[in-house]
Each structure stands twice: as structure tokens, then as C-alpha cells.
């Protein structure tokens, strides 16, 4: 069933971008915007990009003006480090009519160089921009949303069952997102708290590194389950200090994504933790990874936020020591095991 009048836009021809384009193509025609020549040529020739074969009603363009003229609802699926530049590039073509629903998990630090973040660095919340904030800052768009959840692209591409949260303070945006993304095997949930959803989707990367490490050290499912629970507690706690309600953290985009990422051996974050636990030197891993795991930057950001707002985030802070202060991984995990916390679900009750 394709909606003849409407053509949805997707930005970014990475593996997830292609999967999203395919998802939407079940409901309507899709125009994929990318400036990468190789991707454009592949799509033209009907070849797969990043291993994903695009459906027939997905067309591609590198013409920003045509793209924004054709598509009034746009789904950017970009890497967080490129996000601002690419949105900025598109800004002059965007109008008040456009709606943007992004699928990028990550922070933008604009004014701050992530390499400069050391153990004493303090970061203000206002210097940590979520992708929806970037859109509002760089464009005239007001109606912004995001989709986030346990969305491993390979599974979705195989048509396996999955779901996502569309978060926006605008019901209109939620409905637009649903119309585009929802299909038989892809379930859509709504959440009003876009920033909470964005934050939780990023924070879970930290726990994925820890999960990889635990796995690598030979611990079993019990240990992993404990990590996930305590990881969630830490995420909610941090979220509350930064001003978010726990709701987003307890939903599909929070706990849902957390469980998936901590169990998936394919994720870069998990692999990073695993490799460290196997005794590989951290500096070597970091310099050899072509695409550094998002979680590394997130650990730094959280550490710097904790410095500013004086909160304790044992898992994140211990990972910081392991990654950047030569703390042996075994010592780090031992420290966490002996961390003086005995209450189970304290993070919902107590006052922040």
C-alpha cells in the first residue's frame, strides 16, 4: 500500500539509514538523500549499500533543494558527529512546513572538543546538545521528533519483529512518524518526552561497553542481568539529575534498547568492552577502530557532567578510569562489585 501523494525523505545512506528507507518504503515512496557518490551510483545500479538491498520505490538524490521540495517529512539517520554539519547544510532549503524525525543516537558537543575532556573537566548540560536540539538550533523547523529503540539494523532488514518509540512533544509528529514507519513486523509506540528518549538512547552505550567486558571476563548471565539492572538504575538517576522523568528510561527506548545492546555481540560498544577484557591495550583498540564506539565519547561526557553536577555514576566513572586512566579492568569490575549500595530500586523513590 503506497501513499501516492506523499514521498518521505531519509537522510544518510549508512546501513541503518538504508534499513529505515526500506521500512518506510512499505508505506510510501522514499527519497534518500546522500552526498556520497558511491552510494548514489550503487542505488542507481540497483546494488546494495552497506549490505542492504533497497526496495524499488526508494530513489536517491544529492540535490538538497529537490529533496526538501519533494519531502515534507524527513528522517535523518546520520552519525552524531556529522549531524550538525549535514543539518546545517540542509537548513537553507528547509521551510516551516517540514517535520523532522531523526534516528541518530548521540550527543553533539559543538563548543567542546571531546579530546580535551580529562578527569577534571566539567561540562554544563547546556553544552551537551541532543540531536533534536541541534535541529532546533540550526534550522527554522519547530516540529521535531526522534525514533529510538532496540533497532539492530540487521534484524530489521531481515523482517524480524521489532519496535520503536517515536518521541515528540507534538502529536502531529508522532502520527506522521507512525504513518511512515509502522508495518506488520515493526511496532510503533509514542512518547512525549523527546529529550528523555534521546538521552536514554545514548546512555545505554556505556552499559554496552561494561556488558562486553563482563562477558569477556567470563561472567555469566546472572552477572549480566545485574549489570543491566544497575545500569538502568544509574541511567535513571543521571537522567533525573539532568531533569528528565524516568518514563522514557523505563520504556522501549530505555530498558528495551539497553537489554538488546548489552546482549548483542555485534555492537561496537560491546566489542570494545570485550576486547579490553581480553587484555588488549585500550589505546591500541581506540586507535585501531575505524569507527570509534559511540560509548567512548558518552563515557567522557557523563564523567564531565558528573563533575559539574556532582553526582556519582559508579559504572560510567569506573569505565572512565579503565578507558583513560589505565585502571586494570579486573580492578574496575571488583570495585563495582564492592560498591556500597544495598538498596535495589532506590532510584525511583528518593529525592534527587
Amino acid at each position: 500500500m503506497s501513499d501516492q501523494r506523499k514521498i518521505y525523505g531519509v537522510m544518510g545512506a549508512g546501513s541503518f539509514g538504508s534499513v529505515v528507507a526500506n521500512l518506510i518504503s512499505k508505506n510510501a515512496d522514499v527519497l534518500l538523500y546522500t552526498t556520497r557518490q558511491d552510494a548514489l551510483i550503487n542505488i542507481e545500479k540497483g546494488k546494495p549499500i552497506k549490505g542492504v538491498m533497497l526496495n524499488k520505490n526508494v530513489k536517491a538524490t544529492n540535490d538538497a533543494a529537490l529533496f526538501t521540495k519533494t519531502c515534507k517529512v524527513i528522517f535523518p539517520v546520520l552519525r552524531s558527529k556529522d549531524f550538525r554539519a549535514k543539518i546545517k547544510h540542509l537548513a537553507k532549503h528547509l521551510t516551516s512546513e517540514h517535520i523532522i524525525i531523526h534516528g541518530t543516537k548521540g550527543f553533539d558537543l559543538l563548543e567542546t572538543n571531546v579530546d580535551e575532556i580529562d578527569k577534571d573537566f566539567a561540562l554544563d548540560r547546556s553544552s551537551v546538545h541532543t540531536m533534536s536540539e541541534v535541529i532546533l538550533e540550526e534550522t527554522c523547523i519547530k516540529r521535531v521528533g526522534c525514533f529510538s529503540g532496540p533497532n539492530l539494523s540487521s534484524e530489521i532488514n531481515q523482517g524480524q519483529l521489532a519496535g520503536t518509540v517515536i518521541a515528540s512533544s507534538f502529536q502531529q509528529v508522532q502520527l506522521e512518524g507512525k504513518k511512515a514507519l509502522m508495518s506488520e513486523n515493526f511496532k510503533v509506540f509514542f512518547n512525549d518526552d523527546i529529550k528523555g528518549v534521546e538521552f536514554t538512547g545514548v546512555l545505554k552505550n556505556i552499559m554496552a561497553i561494561a556488558s562486553g567486558a563482563i562477558h569477556g571476563l567470563g561472567y555469566g548471565e546472572n552477572a549480566k542481568a545485574m549489570l543491566i539492572s544497575r545500569g538502568l538504575a544509574e541511567m535513571v538517576w543521571m537522567g533525573r539529575i539532568l531533569g528528565f522523568s524516568p518514563n522514557a528510561f523505563l520504556g522501549i527506548a530505555g530498558i528495551g534498547d539497553l537489554v538488546a545492546t548489552c546482549s548483542s555481540e555485534k555492537s561496537r560498544n560491546f566489542t570494545l568492552g570485550y576486547n579490553i577484557s581480553k587484555g588488549k591495550k585500550v589505546e591500541k583498540i581506540l586507535s585501531s577502530m575505524t569507527d570509534v564506539a559511540e560509548g567512548v565519547g558518552t563515557v567522557k561526557v557523563i564523567h564531565a557532567l558528573a563533575n559539574k553536577y556532582k553526582f556519582r555514576a559508579p559504572i560510567s566513572q569506573t569505565l572512565f578510569k579503565i578507558l583513560f586512566e589505565q585502571m586494570p579492568i579486573k580492578e574496575g569490575i571488583d570495585y563495582l562489585m564492592h560498591f556500597p549500595l544495598i538498596k535495589d530500586v532506590e532510584f525511583l523513590k528518593s529525592e534527587v
Binding site: A91, T95, E138, K142, F170
Partner: protein, 545 residues
């Protein structure tokens, strides 16, 4: 091009105006009701609340037959549900009663503006004030009033008035000021006259009409009446619709988006979404019509050295301690004596008032250029109409408009901070309070209010030193357009301190800040010191004291 003042249609087309308010109010109500539609709850709640108000909290301005009217409504309502009416008949009767009540409210609000009375009143304002001053001259120190004091000299206006005047021809202006004192309405009404703009329709608390003189002026200057006691669903709907219809019909309007006077003395950091939302809805409704009139918002920050009600306001704030209770508000302008005394105080010495009119914005917070176009953060022209689009055309979506309203509120709060013109009195109060706070162990605001003279005293040298630090910081912020500084900031720290001490809360019975007999800076009232101090809160200036 408009040939006449838009506000005049409230009198020229009064019946049409009220008719539209009634119709749209009813539509709004209906859209909020669950199906099957029944006004029973709304009507019963309204009648119950109104009868309670009349009994518990009557005011001089209330019509005498009010109790009777509402008793009759009650009886009528009771009859609806005891007689055998079909559901259609019942709905018809309910709607008729709702219409009648809404119509009554709309009539009460509308006031009676006319051009001649306005022109008379605006001429009388300065005459009236001069008369008061002349009256005092005989009784007070001779020579004190050598200068001919005029209201005009006391009010300083900052803003791009040529631009505002050109916007007056291009669309509807909504003026959104901060709110510190009941004097605001009258003052802004008069200031607007000085700017050369046509009169604005504005909402003024009905309580102000309890005072005949104040009531006379605000009425003639273009007020419609708001009654904060009436918190029933029909009244609130009528009020919002009234504002929306007025704006949508092109009447330049003024209201206080903070809803009430700042109790703490701080700039507004939270706005009321209800009335602000009517601006968004009016803009959407305009785009649904053929004329497509654009709405221009002008934020306005008023700075006073002296707020008459400061002691009462801050007391209320401290009493509440964060708990919002219903306040039975009485007019602080007790009678003629109080008003004249205040005006005398205000006019006779130093106490200037500065009005800082901001850059106009559209309902989405974009700046407006001299063609009336909206300009986004990248300097591009934005066609704001399409923010109301759904599937390629304008749609009615109140949830979306409510979100836009929140965005507008955030923008306004940001603008207030930037347009705020800092006066010397704000700075001295801020500095003194912070010094006392920082050096007091276990500082507790509620106990601070009772401490003695020696505990509050600050050496003049220390005070000057801290003031200089703050001036440095504020100059930087002023350059970065984070706030604005009054003209006095061109002078030396000593001069700023002198002016500040001479003006801060000048006429409160307990002195806010003064040089004591040992030459120290001291206060007799931590409450009001806190009030004036708060004006500079939110700028993170504490770290520079």
C-alpha cells in the same frame, strides 16, 4: 492601511464582537466535552462556584443584583434535570443558558472605550498629577519643588518606535510586559500614548476598579476587565476567547503573560499558557481567513527603583513558601489618599521608571524586519503560515498550538532577561544581599529576616569593591547583549552607589538600604532587600560577589 484605531471596533461593533465571543466560546467548550455532549457539569460547577464567590468574597464593583441572577440560574438549571426533556431539547436549553452566562461575562469584560474619553483621559493624566504636586507644594519644604515635575520626565522609553509604528499598519500588535505593580497598567497605557502608537486593549484586574480614580484612568485608557476570583470553566473560556477574538479582529492588545505581579521581585521565569495560547490561536485563525493578518509581539520590560507593593508582595511569597494558596486579593491602592501619596512619592524625587520595548517577534519567536517579515536564526525569511500546516494545508490542532505556546513562552523569558535594563538600585540591593548571605553561616532566608543591625552592616569599602566587580561583569554581559544597563552605568561606581542608595525602595517605611551613622551600608528590612535583589537573579552574578 488602517484609517482608525483598531480598538474602536470594540465599541463601534460591540454587539458583533460579543456575538463572536459567545459563539466561539461555545465552540471551544463543546470541543472539550466528551460525547454524548452535555453541559451539565460545566454549568453546575459554574453556578456553584459563582454563588460561593458572591457569598464569600464580594467586591464594591460587583453589580447589586448579582446574587439574584445566579440564584435564578441555579433554579433554571435544577428545572432542566427534573423535567422530562428529550436529550436534544435538554442540550438546546443547556446551550441557551451557557450562551447567556458567556454573554454576561463578555459584556462585563468589554468596558466602554471611546476616542473622546481616551483623549480626555490622556490629557488629564499629567494635569491630574501636576495638580497633586501643586497641592503638596504648600505643605512641604519650600524650594523642594522648584522644578516643574511632569510624568513625562520620569518615564524613559527605549525601543525602536518607528518600527513599531510601521508594524501598526501591517498587522496586529500584542504587547507583552513584565508585571511588578498595579501601577503597570496605567503607566504602560500612558507610555504607549507617548510612543505615538494607538491605544491598546488590555486586561486589567477588576479589583483595580474598586478604586474610582485608578478605575477611571485604566478604563478610559482601553481596559477590559479580568476577574481573578472567577475561576469557573465558563468564565475562563470566555476570557480566553475574548482575547483571541480581539487579537484576531486586529485589535492591538496588551496583557501580562506572567498572569500576576511578580511576588519575588524577580523577572518572570514562568508564564501562564492560557492567555499566551490565545495569541497562537488567533494567528492560526487569521491564516484561515482571507486577510491573513500577521501578529507582531513586542516584549516589554519595566524597571522601577521603587515598587509600592514590594513589602506586601514579598511577604506573600515568603508565607507561601512554595505552596500556592488561593489569595483573597485586596487592592493595595486603598483610597484617594494612598494613590496621591504614591504618585507624589513617585514624581517628586529620583525614582525614574524605565521601559524597555524589545525587538518585535512573531508568534514563533522569529525577529521581524521592517517589512513585517519573519527572519530565522540563519537570516532567512520564514513563511510562518506553514507551521500550521498538516498534509499541505492549515489545520486546527490545539495540542500543536499548545506546544508552540510553550516555545513562545521560553523565548519571551529569554527576551525579558536580555531586555531588562538594570538600574543602580537593583545592583546595590543585589550586592548587599549577596554579601550578607555569603558571610552568614547556615544562611536561612526565613531567619535572616529578623537579624540585627550589626549583622547586616557592610563596610563601605567592601561594598564598593564588590560593586566594581559586578559592574565589570555586567559591562561584559551588556556587550554580549545578555542584559542592558541604565545610563548611570556610564559613571563611576561611587555615583552608581549614590544613586542606588538614594532610590532603592525609596519610600518604604523601613529603609531598604542606607548608609548608617557609622558610614556602613545597612538595611532595616531584609524582606524588601531580598525583593529588589531578586531582580538580578538568574544571571549567575552571585559568583562575582
Amino acid at each position: 492601511m488602517k484609517n482608525d484605531w483598531p480598538i474602536l471596533q470594540l465599541t463601534d461593533q460591540q454587539e458583533a464582537f460579543i456575538g463572536q465571543v459567545v459563539l466561539e466560546s461555545l465552540q471551544d467548550l463543546k470541543s472539550q466535552l466528551k460525547k454524548p455532549i452535555s453541559y451539565k457539569d460545566v454549568l453546575e460547577k459554574t453556578v456553584y462556584k459563582e454563588r460561593g464567590r458572591i457569598k464569600k468574597n464580594p467586591w464594591k464593583v460587583d453589580p447589586e443584583d448579582e446574587a439574584k441572577i445566579w440564584s435564578a440560574y441555579k433554579a433554571r438549571l435544577a428545572k432542566f434535570y427534573t423535567s422530562d426533556l428529550s436529550s436534544d431539547e435538554l442540550l438546546e436549553k443547556e446551550e441557551a443558558l451557557a450562551k447567556q452566562i458567556i454573554g454576561g461575562y463578555a459584556r462585563e469584560m468589554i468596558g466602554n472605550f471611546n476616542k473622546q474619553a481616551y483623549q480626555r483621559a490622556i490629557r488629564v493624566v499629567p494635569l491630574f498629577l501636576n495638580r497633586i504636586l501643586n497641592g503638596f507644594q504648600g505643605r512641604f519644604l519650600t524650594g523642594f519643588f522648584k522644578k516643574n515635575y511632569r510624568l513625562r520626565d520620569k518615564i524613559r522609553l527605549h525601543g525602536d518606535f518607528e518600527l513599531y509604528k510601521s508594524l501598526d499598519q501591517k498587522g496586529t500588535i500584542v504587547l507583552l510586559p513584565t508585571h511588578f505593580t498595579n501601577l503597570d497598567s496605567m503607566l504602560i497605557g500612558f507610555a504607549t500614548y507617548l510612543t505615538g502608537l494607538p491605544p491598546f486593549l488590555y486586561g486589567a484586574g477588576l479589583n483595580l476598579f474598586n478604586n474610582k480614580i485608578v478605575g477611571y484612568f485604566i478604563d478610559k485608557l482601553g481596559a477590559y476587565k479580568l476577574d481573578r476570583r472567577k475561576k469557573n470553566p465558563l468564565y475562563l473560556t470566555t476570557l480566553k476567547t475574548f482575547s483571541r477574538v480581539a487579537i484576531s479582529r486586529g485589535v492591538h492588545t496588551l496583557f501580562f503573560p506572567g498572569g500576576t505581579r511578580s511576588r519575588t521581585g524577580a523577572l518572570e521565569n514562568k508564564l501562564k499558557m492560557g492567555l499566551l495560547g490565545t495569541v497562537l490561536e488567533a494567528q492560526r485563525n487569521n491564516y484561515l481567513k482571507t486577510e491573513q493578518t500577521k501578529i507582531f509581539i513586542i516584549p516589554l520590560v519595566v524597571s522601577y527603583h521603587f515598587v509600592l507593593e514590594a513589602p506586601a508582595l514579598i511577604r506573600q511569597h515568603l508565607k507561601r513558601e512554595g505552596k500556592e494558596k488561593l489569595y483573597l486579593e485586596k487592592s493595595p491602592f486603598g483610597g484617594f489618599r494612598n494613590v496621591t501619596r504614591f504618585l507624589y512619592k513617585f514624581l517628586s524625587k529620583g525614582s525614574d521608571i524605565v521601559l524597555s520595548y524589545g525587538t518585535p517577534i512573531d508568534v514563533f519567536g522569529h525577529q521581524i524586519n521592517n517589512k513585517g517579515e519573519s527572519i530565522d536564526q540563519n537570516g532567512q525569511i520564514v513563511d510562518i503560515q506553514k507551521y500550521f500546516f498538516d498534509q499541505g494545508k492549515i489545520s486546527n490542532d490545539n495540542q500543536r498550538e499548545a506546544e508552540y505556546t510553550k516555545m513562545l513562552a521560553e523565548k519571551l523569558i529569554e527576551i525579558y532577561k536580555k531586555e531588562n535594563i538594570v538600574l543602580s538600585s537593583h545592583l546595590v540591593a543585589f550586592t548587599a544581599f549577596q554579601i550578607i548571605k555569603k558571610r552568614t553561616k547556615d544562611f536561612d532566608l526565613f531567619n535572616m529576616m529578623k537579624i540585627d543591625e550589626d549583622t547586616t552592616a557592610i563596610s563601605y569599602d567592601l561594598f564598593t569593591h564588590k560593586i566594581e566587580q559586578l559592574i565589570d561583569q555586567m559591562q561584559k554581559m551588556s556587550k554580549a547583549k545578555e542584559l542592558k544597563l541604565d545610563e548611570i552605568f556610564k559613571y563611576s561606581a561611587e555615583q552608581i552607589i549614590d544613586q542606588g542608595l538614594n532610590n532603592v525602595g525609596l519610600y518604604h517605611s523601613k529603609k531598604v538600604l542606607y548608609k548608617d551613622r557609622l558610614g556602613r551600608i545597612n538595611t532595616d528590612n531584609m524582606n524588601t532587600l531580598y525583593f529588589y535583589h531578586n531582580r538580578l537573579s538568574g544571571y549567575n552574578l552571585e559568583i562575582h560577589v
